[in-house]
Symmetry: C2
Subunit: 345 residues, 2 copies
């Protein structure tokens, strides 16, 4: 057998053409990945939220609230405002709504108090701020932002965090402000159950009433990402427990190079798996898309260990993901071209 130089030339040319085609494909792919002018995603908690348990009026209330939250975010971003401002103000709205487990409408601790956690992170600078266990701060997300911008620390807690918020001139309220009858009843049911059988150490069952949270992630015109999360935590939580919401890397993370993330669910699992940072790490190190990373973490990794919940995430192009492994998650997103809100699977 003889191989002629001509055949070798043909083979070489073919491989060259193939390479060029492959390159062109890649270029096209990055063309498709053109950055949106802005995009914003919200959640209002994941859990056992089923159509059969929700009447039309309640559903309409939630959809209205989700849409109003998107309005606020879009209003800021479409005028060239920052992702940080959008995230903060959307979360303020959700905190002020008694529908969600954050700010007004937060769940009660075992002792019958409201202890609020929140965090915010700037994807451009990696700066972050958080508060855990505040009791008199009307909008914990504003306190988190003040920690980021006005203190040398990232996480302040309990009485000290309250004091810091007062020194910063943030709105404070008497603790009774956070009371809602619905959450109070929820605590009473939980305590009844406990009296009957469950030991103190029993892990909670998935239930939106028990671990609702609100969160927002955004991409702004400058290409910056931001993420924020706020919550009342778990119903009947004890001993000044702090969940994943105020933990940077667990409930919240933002990095312009990868994504902005806000989580909701059974916080203890989200801390142990460092879910928000894991999203960023999978995108950075494995080259996964925001959807692939979200799917893997929520529907494989967390599901496998019984970690109920979901997350919202957005990448530097405005691509979004909203995976959850519970029956529902209050959620919505808005871009210059599209808007959607959803509750059930």
């Amino acid at each position: 057998m003889k191989v002629s130089p001509f055949l070798l030339f043909i083979a070489f040319s073919a491989s060259l053409v193939f390479s060029l085609v492959a390159c062109a494909g890649k270029e096209q792919q990055s063309m498709e990945k053109k950055r949106l002018q802005y995009a914003l995603v919200i959640h209002g908690g994941a859990g056992t939220i089923k159509p059969e348990n929700m009447d039309a009026e309640t559903k309409a209330q939630y959809e209205k609230a989700l849409n109003e939250a998107l309005d606020i975010g879009e209003g800021i971003l479409s005028k060239g405002g920052t992702a940080l401002d959008a995230v903060e103000n959307v979360i303020v709205y959700l905190e002020n709504s008694p529908l969600f487990n954050a700010g007004k409408g937060a769940v009660f601790t075992y002792e019958g108090h409201n202890e609020l956690d929140a965090s915010i992170m700037d994807g451009k600078t990696h700066k972050a701020g958080a508060v855990g266990g505040v009791t008199i701060v009307k909008n914990p997300i504003r306190a988190a932002r003040a920690v980021m911008e006005k203190s040398p620390h990232v996480l302040l807690t309990c009485a000290g965090a309250n004091r810091f918020a007062i020194e910063q001139g943030l709105d404070t309220v008497p603790p009774e402000y956070f009371y809602t009858q619905r959450r109070w009843k929820s605590l009473q049911r939980r305590l009844e159950k406990e009296k009957k059988k469950e030991p103190i150490g029993a892990r909670e069952e998935p239930d939106a009433h028990k671990f609702g949270t609100v969160g927002c992630v955004a991409l702004d015109e400058q290409g910056n990402l931001a993420a924020g999360t706020s919550t009342g935590g778990l119903t009947a939580k004890r001993w000044n427990r702090i969940g994943d919401s105020p933990i940077i890397g667990a409930g919240t993370y933002a990095d312009n190079a990868t994504c902005a993330v806000s989580c909701t669910g059974h916080g203890e699992y989200f801390i142990r798996e460092a879910v928000a940072h894991d999203m960023s790490a999978r995108m950075a190190y494995l080259g996964e898309s925001v959807q692939e990373a979200g799917e893997h973490i929520i529907n494989e990794k967390l599901k496998a260990i019984g970690g109920a919940g979901g997350l919202i995430a957005i990448d530097q192009y405005g691509q979004i993901a909203m995976p959850f492994n519970t029956s529902g998650m209050y959620r919505g997103y808005v871009t210059p071209d599209e808007r959607k809100v959803g509750i059930f699977k």
Copy 2:
């Protein structure tokens, strides 16, 4: 030009031989990676620790303490004890020593109190426990372990965490127990400096006296990893600030599949970069060794943003890393074959 079939055969054979040699090399590499029977690494804080500022007696005191801590860990592991028990008891020893910024000898807050943080994580189950801002618990690491094993939560804080420790029957002490003259003077110097020029928001300079920490990571006979960290935090910290030490994913992480990590340094940076989880993620997703991941994070990533500190880490084979970007880090390790303690670069 003509290419003979013989030459093609030679080329093919050569590449086959090359592949086989490469495979053999890989096998040899994995043979080298035989797991040690046990291994344990400790740190007592990183910062500005220079030979010219330390007299022989002080140096001998630190070396003695580090060796005694290694004795305790080795005593447990060489008898088949668990990594968790070794980590907990080594840290109890370091907490009880007034030399280190953890337990007795902790730094003072701005208001002149001692607020202690600690966490522990089990690499086998990913279970974790932590306390932030406890004030009367003699050994915060024992409280962290109790949170992991006896509560449904991961992170308890402030008065609630104190109460939990009391309910669990852990040793409590009056707050004065934690007082040391050296740390009190350190606070006074800090407050003097602040009075003169530094605004409240000024970020701290690297200084072991300001952000010492103690930590321990271990591999046991069963192949399980564990990590723990304990600290008094930053001198003159305010508003019930919590640093990275009690944050799973920031100051502490353990996963049998990758590594166990304990960090020390300017905690705010370690939280923002989710350092402990990033170690695990780089090993899992990039296939880096524990040394490569540690080197990159401490001496490139953190250094680039001014994050002073170091970490200790151990992988499932007993390979260890102890990178730091400060002038010194109190540290040591022990395996069945080797033992070393160090202070300076």
